[in-house]
């Protein structure tokens, strides 16, 4: 009983300072999320799902201080991409820096203004996928987000969006504690790309719920970093309809704590879900990718491709599961997680899992960690390539498979060039 009481006290302390807004349908959705959270309590170090990542700084009452990051004269990621910008500074919508939220074939509403309005499609989505994603594994921090998010965007796509919607986060206070929640609904046959980038806050909680209608296509490309001291926990919940595709890629550079969870459900037949990540970290970098893919439809395909480059004691975590439900025949599931350890101090902790209840499926998973290929390094150097450049080339080569998951060539090149710049800069 003492433990239960302690958990309740911890939760009460955590949410005491957060404002709970009751108005309208959103208030009802928040109340349900709060009830879920109260039943679960906050995650602790002893929880199996948090075995490799200590949630203490994410559940603490106050956000630990995080120095602001100065990128110098480096342009932000996606700078050269034509996109509709939605800017949040420490979690607060910045209208002046944002574009008009109008885009052909797309409705964009702000969560902060949605409570009173009857936005039926958002009503069927907000907190709904998050609630579905609480089984079989509890994700209390996602419920906390649904209950207390202060803002975010709600996007409905009915056609093919002319431009990507770009969510840009700025961090201006070293104690900022930000909770944002986005929902995206793609109607049948619609197509949208969502970009996310920028240091969000000292402590950031982000949830995105995505419903991909039949035959629709959703692309998500996210860049986290290079701010180092911040902490972030993100949840991506998606339900993918028949013949639809969901593709998400995240590049992460630096960060003392990043936990990216993706909970994907292939609900319709012939659906596709790809989730990939490339992470590079140094020293007290800690990066956790936790993925749960459920195959419910026939002939669905899922891919998980995660690559991490770790140095000077950095820690990488991968927990990835593929669950193939009864009847989900002809499933094609692929999962690979690999770490390149640039020294003996770094660690990669991987827990790949398969759980299969159908008999006609193809599922593969692999996980490796290794050092840089000394023979390849010598080969490059023997051609006159300086050691540091040679190492960067090999690191980029290692990350290439993950970056290759980005379909849009221009965006992929932006990410690749960015990583190359970061790697080179890092070494000077």
């Amino acid at each position: 009983m003492a433990l239960v009481q302690a958990k309740q006290d911890q939760l009460a302390a955590r949410i005491a300072g957060l404002s709970f807004r009751r108005e309208g349908w959103l208030g009802a959705a928040r109340a349900e999320a709060l009830a879920r959270l109260t039943a679960m309590g906050l995650p602790g170090k002893r929880d199996e799902y948090w075995r490799y990542t200590d949630p203490t700084s994410l559940t603490a009452v106050d956000a630990p201080q995080a120095a602001l990051f100065d990128a110098g004269d480096e342009a932000m990621v996606f700078d050269g991409i034509d996109r509709l910008k939605v800017v949040f500074v420490d979690g607060v919508f910045d209208a002046a820096a944002s574009d008009d939220l109008t885009l052909s074939g797309v409705e964009i509403e702000r969560l902060a203004q949605a409570g009173g309005a009857d936005i039926h499609w958002a009503r069927d989505l907000y907190g709904v996928l998050e609630a579905r994603g609480q089984k079989p594994v509890e994700r209390p921090l996602a419920a906390l987000n649904s209950a207390f998010a202060t803002d975010g965007v709600m996007i409905r796509v009915t056609g093919r969006a002319a431009r990507p919607v770009s969510l840009i986060y700025h961090h201006s206070s070293d104690r900022s504690d930000v909770i944002l929640h986005h929902v995206v609904k793609l109607e049948d046959g619609a197509e949208l790309t969502v970009l996310e980038n920028g240091p969000a806050a000292a402590r950031f909680s982000g949830v995105m719920e995505v419903e991909v209608g039949a035959g629709a296509r959703f692309h998500h490309i996210r860049s986290q970093g290079r701010d180092h001291q911040r902490r972030a926990v993100t949840h991506l919940f998606a339900r993918v309809g028949a013949g639809a595709a969901f593709k998400s890629f995240t590049v992460t550079a630096n960060g003392v704590l990043t936990r990216n969870e993706a909970v994907l459900e292939l609900a319709g037949d012939d659906a596709v879900a790809h989730v990939a990540g490339a992470a590079v970290g140094d020293g007290d970098f800690h990066h956790d990718d936790t993925v749960f893919v459920t195959h419910a439809g026939l002939r669905c395909e899922s891919r998980q491709v995660f690559k991490k480059v770790l140095m000077n004691g950095a820690v990488g975590v991968f927990q990835g599961k593929i669950l193939v439900k009864q009847g989900a025949q002809k499933t094609d599931g692929y999962q690979i997680s690999q770490a390149l350890l640039l020294d003996g101090d770094s660690q990669f902790l991987a827990k790949p899992e398969l759980e299969i209840y159908a008999d006609d499926v193809k599922c593969s998973h692999g996980s490796t960690s290794g050092a840089i290929d000394e023979v390849a390094l010598f080969y490059l150097r023997s051609r006159g390539v300086p050691e540091r450049v040679a190492q960067s080339l090999l690191v980029l080569a290692f990350l290439a498979e993950a970056i290759g998951e980005i379909e849009d060539e221009a965006i992929a090149e932006d990410i690749r060039a960015r990583l190359e710049g970061w790697l080179t800069r890092h070494e000077h």
Binding site: L380, R383, G384, A397
Partner: protein
Amino acid sequence: MLHIKNLHVKLQEEDKQILKGVDLTVKAGEVHAIMGPNGSGKSTLSYVLAGREGYEVTEGSATLEGEELLDMEPEERAAAGLFLAFQYPVEIPGVGNMTFLRTAVNAQRKARGEEEMSAGDFLKVVRAKAKTLKIDAEMLKRPVNVGFSGGEKKRNEILQMAMLEPKMCILDETDSGLDVDAMKLVSEGVNALRDAGRAFLVITHYQRLLDHIKPDVVHIMAAGRIIKTGGPELALEVEENGYADLLAGAQ
């Protein structure tokens, strides 16, 4: 061009002496061949000159145009004009052949204080040189040596050599794994690079490569030393009689 004096080398990991006093001088414009039985130290010599880790030089020196190679990093040796065509060219997934070539060419130019080559100029030069080696555009686009046949890998080595224009070229068993046509192609590539300012050290087991790349001097290496030096006829002698007589003579 290349002066090797009394070079002694052992493996770093174990107490095993591989080279036991190699002396060799190659002048500009010359082609030297080194032949010798397996385990005589030929490949070790090439690796030590190129700066591969895992070897310890216990005595001696190796200079390229008067500069001590053994004090330099591998990339510095390359910039100084040394090139090793590998016996087993390395596959590097994820690094495009073109990116690799251009990075190498420009890194060497930068190290020598020369201007970097523009993307356009580079492309023109590499296409022309690739064509003479029958390397198609598809091969240039692929990752370095990945999915290349044995012959393609060796031709790719020669392409790198042609692009980097080194002064001292070491070819480590470039003929191994080549069929007759590929050997001819590779040899033509090498011969095209022969000039008064450039020297070659060709390591091979077999005389037949030397039918295509005609050496000025032939050395026989055994048990970590050069035991005999002569003209092209020495290679023919080995081909006919094997190494046994030479080895017996040396002892």
